[in-house]
Amino acid sequence: MPVFQAYKRVIKKCIPQLLIYIFVFVAFAAILMTSGAPASTVQFDDARARMAYLDEADSSILTEGLKNYLLQYADFVDVNHDQASLQDALFFEEVHYILRIPAGFTEDFMAERPVEIEKISRPGTTTSVYLDMNISKFLNTARFYLANIPGISQRELVALVSRDLAVETTVEVRPTAVNADAGESLSIFYNYMSYVILNLLILGVGTFMLVFNQLDLRRRTICSPVPLRQQNMQILFGNLIYAVVCWLIMMGMGFVLYGKAMPAKQAMLVALNGLVFTFVSLSISFMIGSALNSRNALSAVTNVLSLGMCFTGGAFVPQYLIGEQVLSFSRIFPTYWYVRFNNEIISMANITFDSLKPRLGYLGMQLGIAVAVLAVALVIIKQRRQAENA
């Protein structure tokens, strides 16, 4: 396969240029990783709150039991009981939560009368919700025993409640979607990848097509006994191999850097999207390589086309920050559909066929663009050859 061998050698000569794009991309990905939020927000961390515990009930066995239970989840802080001191303590975050047990609480509780406890917390804090839950859990469990064991003493009640609440269950959190912070990094990474893939392909495929389409060189090859169809097949084979290798490198890089941050289903779909985009880039590169005559023109067109498509399509800037008109225009570019597919797939919590179905259209749009561009390329080639042979 001499044409394929020549293809390999021409690409080999382009490797230094290709590496520049890959190195810049790796550097970008590394910066993205180090500056991004840790990808551990799906895990549970036991947090301890600072709490002021004010017992006006002169500490009964029941309230002591509640206090001991809360000590497992909070650090008690001594503060003055006057209103101003308590507000200051909350404002300066000396405490996150203030619990006041009113006088007569134990009697009312044991008599199964309605009771009230007073709590003050910083609004919107997770620790306050957490402590609310624990207090409710303790008192509700106690209420349950109280209602079902007539004449139960405070000591027995606290013992039973403490025993029940000491039971622990191991909970494994399985991510069904990429967490929001990692998702942002992943989207940026895979969206930026479209620019790199486009450049790698235009540079490699475009360069070879440009070289091979030089009139004298092509005529010289046509003079040989290798049939034209076989020559074209070898070029096609070379293009496909090169494109797939580029895709594998990019996806491999994504797997190494973000493999653990993305569930398998999402990873496979993002990889599939990448492969489809690689084929679109291949047809664009093929068209450019067939239409142009000089390397300077190739370089200029590469920059204009790849930067233009990636900027308007949302590869560099999130699509929600791009104007509606620009986005409407960018629908003619494959980058728009590639980026949209990535963003939606990465942010999906649960992927089913029904939820995936409308997104498959994005892949279809990319393939449609690829076929259209390829058709234009073939028309260009045919016209050029007719002009040359006339």
Binding site: P2, D216, L217, R220, S224, P227, A390
Partner: protein, 310 residues
Amino acid sequence: MVIKVENLVKRYGDLIAVDHLSLEVRQGEIFGLLGPNGSGKTTLINCILALLKYDKGSISVFGKPMAPDAYDIKKDIGVIMQNVAVFNELTVYENIDYFCGLYVRDKTERKKLVEEAIDFVGLNDFRSFYPKKLSGGLLRRLNIACGIAHKPKLIILDEPTVAVDPQSRNNILEGIVRLNRLGATIVYTSHYMEEVEQICSRIMIIDKGRIIATGTKEELKSMINVGEIVSVESVELDQNLLDVIRRLPNASQVDYENSNLTVTFTKGRNNLLNLMDLLRKENISYGSVYSKLPTLNDVFLEFTGRQLRD
């Protein structure tokens, strides 16, 4: 017959590039195609190689009709294009290997052939060079190596010595003669009459797509009236004596300018001797004397009224 072209017509719009041209190239000869730039040489070659469609006529190579898909014919043809057709991204070795690989699949055999081609054109010291690092002459040699590496039976060279230094030109011409001695039939196009005269066994002169004359160089020269051109430098002559010279046997044209006399004789015996006798008899002193036999340029001049390089 290696190549047979009959009544070929190729038009570019209103321009007739090849005008009812017929030719035959015989086995083992070096066939020269001589003509000025734009005379239709390259168009004719491209038609023979089935690179161009033509309007009329027929072309056969090795006795079979030539066509774009005549791969069994193409395998025995070596082509050296007018413009150097090599990959700038491949080294000298890789380029020759690529073009040889279009004809020879076996790796071991190809390696041997590539080495032989490198040896043949003298590019051993440059095998790992990229074409951009080669001089014009070396680049032309690479172009030739790419065309001959697979040892073709027919080699077509389209102006292979354009923009080449004299040393490389001699090297290339010697190489072509060697290839011919090794059994290859050569078609050599050029607008340099000296080259064609030097190496070609048969020559066709074309102009404006038409055949002017065909034959060996001796046959071509015998077709014109010019026998020899005598130049005498530093000679003082008056009008009477010039009239006497004009009356010498076979003298067809007499020019006298800046004390230099040029007499063109038609074919005949003792033309130079007759002129020298006359000058001696008239006691005319003179400097250098040159006698030049007619060239292909004279042939072209006589047939077209123009110089080959006009």
